[in-house]
Amino acid sequence: MSVPDVKKYLRSEAMPTLFCTGCGHGILLHCLLIAIDELKKDYDNMVFVSGIGCAAWIPSPHMAADTLHTTHGRPIAYATGVKAYRPDLDVVVVSGDGDIVSIGGNHLIHAARRNTDITVIMANNKVYGMTGGQQASTTPHGCITLTTPQGNPERDFDTCRLVLGADAGFVARETVAAPRNLIKVIKAALTHEGFAFVETVSTCVTHFGKMNGMPSPEAMIANLKEKSVRGTGTDLLTKPLEDGRFYTGIFTSGAG
């Protein structure tokens, strides 16, 4: 299978990316562009909205499209305004776990509840990467971060379950360790009418892997492969797995 050339979707001046070597966010960027290409999307009719964080840099400045790089936690609210005023535009939010579900969780659940016709792609590296690796609301119990040096005493959000609880019509999770599947999932999300949520489990080797027994990009990818369990259906989400394993797949793509 040939990989489409996605250079035309990128701002050449923004390349190479500023991401650390081995950062999972670059894989997500690539997969998103391939999905756009394979769907033959009108790129000029798309708007990419992000907040603040490493993941928020996935669209801005890399993508040569209309991009709105907003404030920390608020991209979904900005996107709601864009979409409400111009329903004909294809509005996609790409941002981090800290951005989307820690500081911005309120906007996430409300967009799901309203069934706002946008796609939200959350790059979940389970940490605040940009600020140097502090606990996020997605950091698993026990993990070491700068603000949980003894191990995270709290539980993490299952964000897919959260948005499902708010009646999101499309909910999926995939990892950057399975790019082919990730492209498929993003394509399905981008074609879904109504609110679509894709949690992309990404990697931050610099500020998460190194502290948690995965000192290299390879170790992090291997971990994602080992821990992800393929499945479909919403009831999977009510049965959390043990040992840090988690389900991936499209949990629901029904009406919102």
Partner: protein, 368 residues
Amino acid sequence: MAYLQGNMACVEGALRAGCDFFGAYPITPSTEIMTAMARRMPEMGRTFVQMEDEIASIAAVIGAAWAGANAMTATSGPGLALMLENIGYAFATETPCVIVDVQRAGPSTGQATRPAQGDVMTARFGCPGDYEPIALAPWSAQESFEMTARAFALAREYRMPVFVLTDEIIAHLYETLDLDREIEVVEHDPPCDLPPFGDARTCERTPMPKFGEGRKLLVTGSTHDERGRRRTTDPQAQMRLVERITKKIERDRKTLAETESYMMDDAEIALVSYGASGRSSLAAMTQARENGRKVGLLRLKNVWPFAQEKIRDIGGGVKKIVVVEMNCGMMRREVERFARAEVVGCHKVAGEIIRPDEIIEVIENVSA
């Protein structure tokens, strides 16, 4: 002629100016604006959204503005506080939008149904970093109508958020007003391919671009160059951005800072006031004149940019300047910076209008 409360006059002004996106979260004493918009906007084929909080409201407004809207929100102090980070974003990204803030007694939740003028410095300095706001301060239903409309024109012209700072009194005061006054209907800029954030060397306005035109816009609240490219460690870029968003207002301050003078020519005591307090001041002035006191009034129609030249030019005949406002002296400090005569405050923070007799008392005290 119409008979409307100030809040409704804001709605009429916004609709006439071409407001086509409204996003807000309910808060007393601004709520009537939102509930009227909920009805009127869809009737007119325009967009209304109720958001989950004020952070989301202003974010949606800014997003809509980049999609091409003449967008507005309405709130009161606690909501304004929540909006500040994103209002700063609008300043940095040169995004036109209108924020009506109906001031109520603070700090914090304060007295939700009671008037104050305690948000003037929030508008001035509430956002982090340097910026120069425009804040209009209507004192009547007529001005609520005209100034809200004008705010849209100014927002477009200067590509920035513009505040309309009313207060609970003006908002809920029913008055007759003329809705047939000429209103500038705000035109959208035609597409062009100039850099979206201006020429690097001047603060000249560049047309507001919008999404969906193939411009590949890079919009960011991080320091950026004229094409929106992030320049987060470049001292020149930082200086240029701050200069760009401040110089345009400094340059036009004299024309932007509108005032109205009453009997200032022979005045020995000058009242300086704005908004609802301006009305009490006018009444006090009239009464004081009847009592033989030479009192004049300089009313600020904009609190920002500040009419510093007009304050400095208050004539040598004026021995005392009395600043009348429903706060502990926010604008008084500003007046003190420029006045040549001694400045005295007539302040009240009781969640009540300042009555003319209370102003007269201050006038009598300073005359003694």
